[in-house]
């Protein structure tokens, strides 16, 4: 197991380096630059800015400097948000997104898994159809539509929930609902189909034949096997959700990290593009390793190689 983890970490470092390198050269290929506005900044000012941030050097040298600094944990200063380092921005905004995102993933699991199981157990019944309709809606309706509808009904019409900011528990309700809608629906479907698959297995019949209680069969034998695909899905989902959603953050004015991914690219904030990309890539890789280990715990038959 230890050997496996060490190997995965080694691989992860190579992957992150590759992601960083590709991103670095791709973003520099796109036309435009960070110091542009409708009104032309004087050539002296532009030159001074480029010199200040080392953008006047040849690209490959910039790349080497960047990788060197990054290895020392220095991800540079944001080029657009003057006075803030990339680390400052990530450390300031990630906790906010992580809180909203973490709660959303938890809600999706708590709602999605039981409903998926129920749908499988009541296969073909009314409840099953109802759940499948809900999950289809959840997958088909884009999040900005859900956000807008929530905002309109609960915020503007009923006025029972605040529309902006994140200062009390009430503020969390709408963003969490909006963020968890899609994963809940997806988990329901995933859970339903894998549960159906498990229920048809021979060992389930054996368990029943042994005369085990229904609850034990369901939780110990069925659920434990059926939940594996959900774990696979939840790993990367967690990584994506805790880093924030551009749409949800924009509509509910949440000071999270999601917006930074987009605004960094639109503003050609090179250091911030690199920082957020490396951060997200690292999280996804870490989550994948965690998923593999959880797999092993849930299903000891799986061998980690």
């Amino acid at each position: 197991m230890l050997k496996y983890v060490a190997k995965r970490i080694g691989l992860a470092i190579v992957t992150i380096w590759a992601v960083a390198t590709i991103t670095f050269f791709l973003m520099n290929l796109v036309p435009g630059g960070p110091f542009l506005s409708e009104k032309a900044i004087s050539p002296q000012a532009t030159a001074a800015l480029e010199a200040k941030y080392g953008l006047d050097k040849p690209l490959f040298q910039q790349y080497l400097t960047y990788i060197g600094d990054a290895l020392h944990g220095d991800f540079g200063d944001s080029l657009k948000q003057r006075g803030r380092t990339v680390m400052d921005i990530i450390l300031m905004k990630f906790p906010v997104s992580a809180r909203v995102g973490g709660i959303s993933v938890l809600v999706s699991l708590l709602v999605g898994v039981p409903l998926g199981c129920i749908a499988a157990l009541k296969r073909g019944k009314f409840l099953d159809s109802l759940i499948s309709v809900i999950s289809t809606c959840g997958i088909a309706v884009p999040s900005f539509v859900i956000c807008t509808l929530l905002l309109y009904f609960f915020g503007v019409k009923l006025m029972i929930l605040p529309t902006l900011g994140l200062t009390s528990w009430k503020h969390y309700i709408m963003p969490v609902m909006a963020l968890s809608f899609y994963p809940t629906a997806y988990i329901m479907r995933l859970m339903r189909s894998s549960m159906l698959d498990v229920l048809g297995q021979d060992y389930m019949r054996t368990a029943k034949a042994k005369g085990l209680a229904g609850g034990i069969i369901l939780f110990k034998h069925a659920l434990r096997n059926a939940i594996l695909p959900v774990i696979t899905y939840v790993g990367p989902l967690l990584a994506y959700t805790v880093t924030g959603s551009f749409v949800v953050e924009k509509i509910f004015t949440i000071p999270g990290l999601g917006g930074e991914f987009i605004s960094a690219i639109n503003g050609r904030d090179y250091t911030l593009i690199m920082g957020t990309t490396i951060f997200l890539a690292t999280l996804i890789i870490v989550m994948n390793v965690v998923v593999d280990i959880v797999y092993k715990i849930v299903d000891p038959r799986i061998k980690l190689k």
């Binding site: 036309p31 004087s42 000012a45 003057r82 006075g83 809606c137 915020g155 006025m159 902006l164």
Partner: protein
């Protein structure tokens, strides 16, 4: 049975879908009824809001998303400018009528040759941390603006006429001729007379910043409430990037007695629909970002305001390329645009049709409206008489050797996709087809669009300018042959000569004449195609009293109050 259930569920989802659509539809339709409803319930939400922000009279507004920077030297955006206006004060200020007024300086005078400006500071000025503010703080701050390591985007605009600027911008900061003979006197020496230097002394870039704080924290001083020391009517007491900036009344401000609010909460909302929702619920009493689809239903609402700002939406033509090197073609293209229709219908009345290049708000040398004196008091383009203009356009095109557009190459129009840009592009396609011009529209992403236009890598493109100060040279300079914003590469010796006179003369009448001559040439040559004048449009609760909006695009809330 199973089929029936599915059919039933299908019906349910369809109904769900329909109500969903109906819901958003109703939001647009019942505008008037809705606002009265929301103002009623405003009080309840507001009182709970106020209670949560430690009491006091806090005005909650929205003028834009997170400002990129609120360091006075670095800011070049209007939303950042609004923050600076409330947290800092320059030597001079601009009053409600757009006239220069005392700021940190209570009086000022100019030497006879126009080269020496002396400002007399008020006694007992203080920073928001309670320490003393002296003329030396201005010396430091102005030199800082020149510092190449600071790389202030507006350095050249606001200080290039100060003696020693070139040297200072090269790194020798002490070359800049600004001095503080004593704590209350600030003297500036110019290298050439500048009649509008007073406006610059009121320009946010030249706000004083506290040397000790800036040196201790570097660029980061302007990123958190703790280190953001200011000298204006308010100071920042809380700042959550991406969420809000809370300003509290600055007890050390010289005119603190006139400030009625305890604070201003700037909600950094990015999405127009979100800010509209917050306005409807009363969480925010003023919003700048109104969803354009709501505008038709808001037209008659007394809370909806439209007010001009100094700036023009215009089209740049690449004068280095055929057929734009022919003035007749340029004029034909200009006259073939129905500006009343574009501004009034396509832009929903949020813009005003442009008959001149210099619109309302620009101030002539004698203090009157520049526009009223242009072209002998007549508009250059009679926007009300489009039919005649169209006929003239066809004639001009024929004179240029392209009757009915025959022989004209296909033209590309480049624009980024924001606001009404795409709608205007589609309109141009149709309008110019009327005179036989084949127009291709090219939508370019914002960050690529600006450098493309600057490099002259286009046929025709959208362009625009919003003034920094109300002196007409601020916008007429754009067409000076060597100007960095001369995207069309307009190169006219007479024009340059007129602008040169406007820069050096001390005689107000002569200067005015030169500026008007420049605009005459620009319009006669159709160096660009003015389409519409910018307006600001916003929603503001009638509870806010004592605030005003300036033609620079700023809202003045410092002397505002909230009526109960």
């Amino acid at each position: 049975m199973k089929k029936r259930v599915i059919a039933l569920l299908l019906a349910v989802t369809m109904v769900f879908g329909l109500t969903a659509c109906g819901g958003s539809g109703a939001a647009e339709g019942s505008g008037a009824a809705e606002t009265t409803e929301s103002t009623e319930s405003t009080e309840t939400t507001e009182s709970t809001e106020a209670a949560s922000t430690e009491g006091g009279k806090i005005l909650s507004v929205q003028v834009g998303p997170d400002p990129e920077t609120i360091d006075p030297a670095l800011n070049s955006a209007v939303d950042g400018g609004n923050m600076l206006l409330h947290s800092f004060e320059c030597l001079l200020s601009v009053d409600q009528d757009g006239k220069l007024a005392p700021g940190q300086a209570e009086s000022w005078e100019t030497s006879e040759d126009g080269l020496t400006w002396t400002f007399h500071l008020r006694e007992g000025l203080k920073w928001s941390d309670g320490s003393d503010l002296t003329a030396n703080d201005f010396v430091y701050s102005w030199k800082r603006v020149c510092d190449p390591m600071v790389a202030a985007p507006y350095a050249e605009t606001v200080l290039s006429m100060v003696e020693g600027f070139e040297d200072a911008a090269g790194g020798n900061l002490d070359a800049l001729q600004v001095a503080a003979p004593d704590d209350l006197t600030f003297v500036v020496t110019l290298n050439a007379p500048c009649s509008y230097f007073g406006s610059l002394a009121a320009f946010a870039t030249l706000s004083p910043v506290q040397q000790a704080t800036v040196e201790a924290n570097g660029d980061a001083w302007a990123t958190s409430a703790e280190t953001y020391i200011s000298n204006g009517p308010f100071y920042i007491s809380e700042w959550v990037p991406g969420s809000h900036i809370l300003m509290s009344k600055n007890p050390y401000y010289w005119n603190a007695d006139a400030i009625k609010l305890d604070g201003i909460k700037w909600n950094l909302i990015e999405d127009a629909n979100a800010s509209y929702s917050a306005y409807q619920t009363g969480e925010v009493l003023m919003i700048k970002d109104v969803p354009t689809e709501e505008i038709p239903s808001l037209r008659d609402n007394p809370e909806f305001h439209v007010d001009p700002i100094i700036g023009t939406y215009y089209l740049s033509l690449n004068l280095d390329r055929e057929p734009f090197n022919d003035a007749n073609v340029r004029k034909a293209l200009s006259l073939a645009i129905d500006r009343e229709y574009v501004a009034g219908t396509l832009m929903q009345g949020t813009y005003t049709a442009a008959s001149n290049f210099m619109g309302p708000g620009w101030v002539d040398t004698d203090g009157s409206q520049f526009m009223d004196n242009a072209n002998g008091g007549q508009p250059y383009i009679d926007t009300a008489n489009f039919e005649a203009n169209l006929e003239e356009a066809k004639q001009l095109l024929a004179d240029a050797g392209y009757p009915d557009g025959e022989g004209l190459p296909a033209i590309t129009y480049s624009t980024n996709d924001a606001g009404y840009h795409k709608v205007v592009a589609e309109y141009l396609q149709q309008a110019w087809a009327e005179i036989g011009v084949d127009l291709q529209v090219e939508i370019v992403e914002w960050a690529s669009f600006t450098p493309m236009r600057r490099n002259g890598d286009y046929d025709s493109s959208r362009n625009g300018w919003v003034g920094d100060y109300s002196d007409p040279s601020n916008m007429l300079d754009l067409f000076y042959s060597t100007n960095g914003n001369n995207d069309g590469n307009f190169n006219n010796a007479e024009y340059d000569a007129a602008m040169d006179i406007s820069r050096t003369t001390l005689d107000a009448a002569e200067r005015s004449e030169a500026l008007h001559k420049a605009e005459d040439i620009l319009m006669e040559e159709a160096g660009c195609i003015p389409v519409a004048y910018y307006n600001d449009f916003w929603l503001q609760s009638e509870k806010i009293t004592g605030s005003w909006h300036s033609p620079y695009g700023y809202w003045y809330f410092m002397y505002a109050d909230i009526a109960e």
